[in-house]
Subunit: 624 residues, 2 copies
């Protein structure tokens, strides 16, 4: 292993005693975890006591970028936020792009570890090595765009980049996300963790650059990556034009665009109102992250009635699913507004849309009444109510308070059998893709370490027919255990840790990503890897995350899917009749655990596997 | 006269043929008009043909700063926009602060003269001497904050400053204003002029500085100004704390906070809901213009129900009057939201609030029916309808289309005697201050060149008892002609032309403003003036504006007040029973014309007066 000049740096910030200190990032950690999600879980596992309250001062918030972030490698201004999730009690890990990640690297940091709890609303202002704790009274209660602008104005520097929470995070909604610019680190309620620490925002400005260990190797590795990007049949030709909406037609054609709290798949498809044609009309332009030539952000403008004039970066495909499909709202303007409000109030769009869909089903079934809703008509398709609920959830107004922590928490409070309509895994609401018609997705939702997360092992093979690593039948079960493991590990190794945008990885680097990352790492940092060693980083990170969850008490029984998907077939459309029986799920899980080298009975990593991955100390901790 | 190094510069921009050229600002023009509003009317009068369509390509938009803008003189990052007003056909002259003015000076310009009409939506991007015409498709339809941010993102420079219109300007609402940052150049529909030119925004970035002719003189002049600011009993002790809201208690105490379309003064005062206590609770912090130590901007946050989380810079006092008083809405959150929406949609708050109040009175009188309003309940006090109407006006939706051009135009369309409820002078809606109880204000509203404008000759003496130039009885008529002339000229000379913030002038420089400006001019530019010569600039500008209006056909008969103020006394409160009879108005006008040296019959400046002011060529043009 290279032991030369590469020197990562961590800033440890304690809100309780208002201190900040720099620490070297040990070379061994860089080598074994690369960056991003890898760094995040390494520090979270090592430093968190088991069973701490996710909303207590003992929880930590780890914001980590990758070694490539801020360099000239395209599409790498990405960050990962890791914390114990208040929604799931499992590892909460969320990605975002934008400009903050690059700025954080310019300030010199690979990770910020935020600890403790501020006495009163605070924001952190980091200018290179200077760290200030500032009174956030002026921005507390503000929407995310106002918060960012007013911090820039107050600090008299328009080049500052900010991440912040909205009112939802302040109000400890477990669906709260963290926003930088117009980008969200969504899911898992990490915004509530910030809120619980009285931390409104982190403002950052850096003047440094990213050093390159070997210019020749770096250039050639970068060329291999950009060549792959150019060669991709989808990245520039399709994805850069329509963004993640490219999944809209793919999923509706396959009959797996799930709708109406997963009761309507194949029968209700909001294609006329929110499909690509409507999106094309609403679109005013693109948005780019720092240093990204793709520019997948779709700026869409609502134009009708009371929604007119509201702009959103997005809605992305997952938001179309959540606010369009799940709520039965075939009205793009309303979806744009709900998306805009979610970004401004700091709510995760997937969880919020699914939770509103859940409430709508309960209302239609009479489990929630007009009395419960305070007079709101909560039927599927009522776009005005949907938009109102976003606001009510963020501020915990009326029934919004009941819904503000997501479907699992709401079902526990409502009772009356509502849990069976709560579409989540481990407490995290299901993303798009009716997985009854895409089995590797189903297995991934059941096993991914944060709960149902499409970003932690997306089975592109089933949706877009990409023959990587081999052709698959989306409806078959055979081989899905291995495929799921491969997707989880390779995406973690090539996207989440380095941190290259997952879209670029999925569309252009699935076939050679480990080679590309190995070469880039050697060129940029001087640390050398074989492609297999890169892959192994992904496996190591997935195992460490699993170990975290095991330590928190998760077992095989948590690797499951909502009852509905196991018992009710898709009612119509091209995937009509599909479901996943418990037996089918068991078969996939068995294969998955085998592929992972985990114990079949409880889904716990074996000592052998952990030791093989250099995680022997973890086996000790888990008393394996 | 000094003929040395001072060299102002103008950028002439033609949208029709996409050209831009720099021109020297003649020293004589600098000397005689100083800058700001002075430059604006000088070029507008000289270059506009009479009777051009204000919304046609022949109209021009002149954006001018002052010689002090961008220097270290405090509170001078101000600009003036001059154009022929589509609402009045008179001189439209509007002031704004913020950061754009200083940036414009850093780019090297004293004035931008925008001519012609772009073929399609365009924005202008000025970087020092580089001028680009850019496609505005990406920002057309956007709210003003989104527009500004997306232009910065697109040009990859967060230090750019933008002025732009919102949807209201695009839709040619004659109440549309022009926004830079969160600041408005309001009144007179200048946003519609931008819209009519297909001009969405002007983005500017400069790297220059402002030269100082004589450092010693400059320093001592600046010290005289800052000493006056410190010595003011109101500027820092009161105004910097509560902003223009300091007029709230003053006017309610005097019983001249006008309400409910001027029917309710003294009877309805929205003090509980929107008064200083409520404002204090809503306030989260201050906002400053570039280089201003006062920071009068009050950032207020709505916190309840569907309004929660909406932030506004303001509402300022005039907006409290318009959206609170005129509509009978005693709900600060709703006023904050209406203010926020107006800024975002690019609507003048005074005109919009007064127009909504007008519609409410018509609705209560049955002149507008539920059929006309499309089912909206338009009663006084209905805050939800008020907020909805702001949106509907900007987008010309439903009854919003009828109201979008202000009360005069709406009354002409509605008929049925509604004109007598239309509270405007020359087509411009009345600002705050029930002038029946403040006679110099009344005379100023009747005679100010843009129509009813509180910024063009504010009689602070009547409201705050400032003994400048002499003590006055607010209810008396004697001497008001002279006082009005003095206020108009001195404020023009010391605030609008140089361009020093009018609030600073009113609160700290009324007693010595002409001295201060004379010394500052000599220090900064080397041009020397006596204080009387500074005063004369104000008189010159007011005469030239009057000449512009005369050339457009305005006569003495236009110097009047709405019928209601001349016939209906204030119904209650400390000023109960006050009105201004036609005879009283005539008496004040006679005195005013005499003080001005204007013809008594038609209110036209005499050749003698014009010649005395160096405007002989104007007398020729008017064939006097």
């Amino acid at each position: 292993m290279y032991t030369g000049g590469y020197a990562g740096k961590i800033l440890r910030i304690n809100l309780t005693d208002k201190t900040a200190k720099e620490e070297a990032l040990p070379l061994e950690v860089s080598k074994n975890f690369i960056g991003g999600a890898g760094l995040g879980i390494k520090y979270l596992f090592d430093e968190l006591q088991p069973h701490v309250d996710p909303l207590g001062p003992e929880n930590k918030l780890i914001i980590s970028v990758g070694p490539f972030t801020g360099s000239s490698i395209p599409s790498t201004s990405r960050l990962n936020i890791t914390s114990k999730s208040p929604q799931t009690n499992a590892v909460g890990s969320a990605l975002s792009g934008g400009y903050f990640p690059a700025e954080m690297k310019f300030a010199g940091y690979d990770a910020l570890i935020v600890e403790g709890k501020a006495e009163k609303p605070t924001y952190i202002w980091i200018k290179d090595s200077e760290v200030n704790f500032r009174n956030a009274a002026k921005v507390w209660g503000l929407k995310t765009s106002d918060c960012q602008q007013i911090i820039k104005d107050d600090l008299k520097d328009q080049n500052i980049r900010c991440m912040c929470i909205g009112p939802a995070g302040e109000n400890l909604s477990k669906m709260a996300c963290i926003i930088n610019e117009r980008r969200a680190a969504g899911r898992k309620g990490l915004g509530a963790v910030m809120g619980s620490k009285n931390l409104k925002a982190i403002a950052i400005r850096g003047t440094g650059t990213v050093a390159v260990a070997d210019q020749e190797k770096f250039k050639s590795a970068k060329k291999a990556m950009t060549d792959s990007m150019k060669a991709s049949p989808v990245l520039y030709p399709v994805f850069s034009k329509v963004g993640s909406s490219c999944a809209f037609d793919a999923t509706t054609d396959l009959g797996i665009f799930s709708s109406k709290n997963w009761t309507g798949t194949g029968e209700f498809v909001p294609k006329d109102g929110i499909g690509l044609e409507a999106q094309g009309q609403a679109k005013v332009g693109h948005a780019h992250c720092y240093g990204c030539p793709v520019g997948c952000g779709q700026l869409m403008l609502a134009r009708k009635g009371s929604y007119a004039g509201i702009l959103s970066e997005g809605p992305e495909f997952e938001t179309q699913y959540a606010f369009g499909g799940q709520t039965g709202v075939d009205n793009l303007d309303a979806v744009i507004v709900a998306d805009h409000l979610s970004d401004e109030l700091g709510l995760d769009t997937i969880s919020t849309g699914v939770t509103i869909g859940f409430a709508m089903e309960l209302f239609e079934k009479g489990i929630l009444t007009m009395e419960d809703t305070g007079g709101l008509e909560l039927n599927f398709g009522n776009h005005e109510t949907m938009v109102k609920l976003v606001q009510m959830i963020a501020f915990r107004q009326g029934i919004g308070d009941l819904l503000a922590d997501g479907v699992k928490a709401a079902a526990e409070k409502i009772g009356k059998g509502s849990e069976k309509f709560a579409m989540h895994v481990k407490g995290l609401e299901l993303p798009a893709y009716d997985v009854r018609g895409a089995k590797a997705h189903a297995l991934n939702y059941a096993t991914a370490y944060p709960g149902a997360d499409h970003n932690k092992g997306y089975a592109a093979q089933e949706i877009f027919g990409m023959p990587i690593p081999y052709e698959v039948d989306r409806l078959g079960y055979e081989g899905k255990g291995k495929l799921c493991k491969w997707n989880q590990d390779v995406q973690c190794a090539t996207a989440d840790c380095p941190t290259i945008c997952s879209f670029v990885v999925l569309m252009a680097l699935l076939h050679n990503g480990t080679d590309v990352v190995a070469d880039l790492m050697e060129g940029l940092t001087g640390l050398s890897y074989t492609p297999d060693e890169i892959y192994e980083v992904g496996e190591r990170v997935n195992n460490l995350c699993r170990a975290f969850n095991v330590r928190e008490g998760f077992t095989r029984s948590d690797d499951t899917l909502p009852e509905r998907l196991l018992t009710e077939p898709i009612p119509g459309g091209p995937s009509k009749g599909q479901l996943i029986s418990k037996e089918d799920l068991k078969q996939m899980l068995d294969e998955y655990y085998t592929a992972r080298g985990w114990d079949q009975t409880n889904g716990v990593p074996t000592r052998e596997k952990l030791t093989e991955l250099g995680l022997g100390y973890v086996a000790d901790q888990l008393k394996l």
